[in-house]
Symmetry: C2
Subunit: 82 residues, 2 copies
Amino acid sequence: MAQFMDVHHGMRGITADQLHQAHEADLAVEKDESVHFERAWADPESGTVYCLSEAPSADAVQRVHERAGHRADEIHAVPLAV
Amino acid sequence: MAQFMDVHHGMRGITADQLHQAHEADLAVEKDESVHFERAWADPESGTVYCLSEAPSADAVQRVHERAGHRADEIHAVPLAV
């Protein structure tokens, strides 16, 4: 298992409710891929969303996001953290 | 106070020690700007570093990073989080 940071662009105007619902949609299907979405942060002004997850691979992260209806634009393994 | 996610590019090959030292350099000066750097994650392969902070403004975040020797390429307010 490794940590990943993924990024979604084009989410301008996202609300707290929408972020919450998107996160819940991930949580609802993540177990099938052994992924866990830990946190997410959103900047409604630039339309950027960052998601931090623990997962077996970037592909597994993307599969969960796709099934939840919001494909990520970038997925980075982040093996280093402080 | 608000939360910010900032991004550094061009950090390919960054090591755990380098990330730790960069974070310590931020912590050493952050109080002057009422900023607190909470977490940071690095992808040595793409050379991307993400920093999560609490700060009065994006400018304050940048001033700390500049004094610590590593200007951010992007700084996003992230008022929404889960």
